[in-house]
Symmetry: C2
Subunit: 73 residues, 2 copies
Amino acid sequence: MADIKYEIKETMGILSESPKGWKKEVNLISWNDNAPKFDIRDWDPEHKKMGKGVTLTNEELKKLRDVLNEMEL
Amino acid sequence: MADIKYEIKETMGILSESPKGWKKEVNLISWNDNAPKFDIRDWDPEHKKMGKGVTLTNEELKKLRDVLNEMEL
């Protein structure tokens, strides 16, 4: 992971926090200086280590919102 | 990945499809015969190969829904 450059532009929300302080976050992230994308993944408290996650376009995030709104949660 | 057992119990929605037929899906998946969890990731057309993704609890999915509903998409 050391050679991936990333910059968290904005944090939209925190979905959960583990006992060790890792948080599942929804962020807007620029990877390798590219245009920022939405991203859902786990992060350590300093945002230095990350877990696996998904990157989503604006269009995919809209669809995701619609899918979640149709579910009974 | 060959030794991970998974069973897709339900597909809640498709967020996008690539030219090669991979789809970003929201599924309810049982991993290694454990209780099913929600999951967002890319899948090949046969659901045999998968990309990286996130697994979410019911509680995390609710929070995600609330976060997305507060955003202007």
